[in-house]
Symmetry: none
Subunit: 199 residues, 4 copies
């Protein structure tokens, strides 16, 4: 593994563990097993390194969502969404430090917002991709005809997002079983709807 990759992985690990605010170049170098100076042979600045690592976040989720586009009309909608939801909770949980750091450091965000927009990056991409899938399924008649695909996507991913956030806040890890149960209950409610049924 080349040094650039080692540095990036070290940075990812440290930011995950401590958050960006308390991540120092010294610590990254220590974990990467190189000198602080070496960081600057591969990245222009600490911020540059952060952005590099940031781009590797949420890749499982985005992969699952991209795969979904091909799956419209196949399997069950419920089954397809379940895979996405599981990936979402897992990735959001793993990347929560990154996600929150972007907001916490307003100037960093401001400096790069245009870049994000230009490259069509950011966590909101997930919602858009899921929306697209649901639109297709709606055309196929496999989801309720009067539902807004965007709202449905926001409900599902928002729920996963906040769930991951709260696990981090509470300092909890979740077993696979617990996670499956959360996703199951969430999908149950999402499919069924809150509306009381007439007798």
């Amino acid at each position: 593994m080349d040094l650039k990759t080692r540095i990036a992985e070290a940075a990812e690990q440290v930011i995950r563990a401590n958050g960006l605010a308390k991540t120092t170049t010294k610590e990254i170098a220590r974990i990467a097993g190189c000198s602080e100076g070496s960081l600057y042979n591969h990245f222009k600045s600490k911020e540059d390194l952060f952005l590099y690592v940031l781009r590797g976040q949420l890749t499982n989720l985005m992969g699952a969502l991209t795969a979904l586009r091909e799956l419209a009309g196949q399997g069950t909608v419920r089954g397809n969404l379940e895979k996405v939801a599981l990936a979402a909770v897992a990735d959001y949980y793993q990347s929560m430090s990154f996600i929150c750091s972007v907001i916490s450091e307003r100037d960093l965000l401001n400096r790069h917002r245009e870049g994000f927009a230009a490259r069509n990056e950011g966590p909101h991409r997930a919602n858009e991709t899921l929306e697209a899938y649901l639109s297709e399924e709606k055309l196929l008649g496999r989801v309720h005809e009067s539902i807004s695909p965007r709202a449905a996507a926001d409900l599902l991913l928002g729920s996963c997002f906040q769930h991951a956030f709260q696990l981090r806040f509470l300092g909890r890890e979740e077993s696979e079983e617990q996670r499956s149960r959360f996703v199951k209950h969430t999908l149950d409610a999402l499919f069924e709807g809150l509306q009381a049924r007439e007798a």
Copy 2:
């Protein structure tokens, strides 16, 4: 207004604008119109000041949720949830810097997690409160009998939470009308459910 309040409000303003990581005591003092030393006459440390201000976050939402408990069976469920959702988006949006800073600064969170738990604080309280309300409505037959109140609460608040997050990420403000529309669509989808209806 006494100086302690002025300092707290200055801190709130600066953290909202810049995030905790880039908030300096110097800047807080400047905005509060006092010396840096004065901060320490009223707060033990910058961290102490942050926690003080943090405790004032999400109060509108929590107020709306608490009020909700009295409203079970009154008005429409939909109408009640609408008020909550609007408060949620607004408060989450306002407090996103605080919420994310808590996660970004892992050591700060670790240091105070016990305290949060002891005082039953934290953003997850909102979900629990909404869950309680929905449970009551379920008993009253005003929400679908097979729905999980917790899952429903997580869907609604999670969606609002992530929506607020994404507004911050994109650097957008939302008009009242846009916000109402977001809430409306979200509630539509949540009430209706994804399930395709048989012809």
Copy 3:
């Protein structure tokens, strides 16, 4: 007890315990049970307060030495010196923080050296007073005729001084019995002399 005295005693206690360097006006006020502002109603500055308290140090020793002048020719020289030595160890031990602070804070010392000289103050006064006593006893033939009174005074008081210093350094307290034994051995050696005796 009036406030000025209470402040002075608080300062003495705190300096004794923590040394001047780590003594704050806040701590003095806390111990004195008054506000920090009150300190400045009774003393011009922290330095002024320190000097005030400093002047009260070593008073038992100086008292014992002054008394000694009257005792020349009375009792035994050994007995007279024993009282002085005991007072010296006790007072040096009690005042070691003060004594050392004067040296540690060079600028303070420089600022007040003239004042000390003008008022004939300082720990060296003890040696001069003891020298005077020994000179008288020498005239009376009660100490070895070829001894230098100043050297003898320096030996005895220097030994007590360093002994007190080392107790402080090692963080030890000494029982009265231990102290008596130290003084006894010291006087034994001082009276007898190192010189090997011919058979």
Copy 4:
């Protein structure tokens, strides 16, 4: 000379001149001709730097005392002690700021007392070493058989210690001749003893 040494020497010089309490990292850096930050590349903290420099104090005296152990039975006891006494006054004088700072800053002392003990460091080591030498000479019959070696060591070194202290207190330097005279008189008195001789 490497920077670490330059920093250490600068610190030594500044502490000697101003005492630890009034020694700032800024001033040390200025004298060392480097930035304040550099101090922290070589020492963990100001305290760490102080301890490093402290360990280099009293080395001439300790060297002279160690050499003494080999000299038992050689030359004259008086001559041997003279060398030690001269080294003692010189070293105590040079290091008085350090010695006193250790006492003035009680918490520093408390924090490191165990370390001092573990490494068998501290000014009291000098007395123990001199005591050992005198014990040997006593066995050789070269010092008075009824004298306590420890008491004799305390008398001599205590006198030198306090003499150095008082020179600092009075702001005086001593010529070599004056110093020799002080040592000579002190040894005269110590060898002869105070005891009046019967006619």
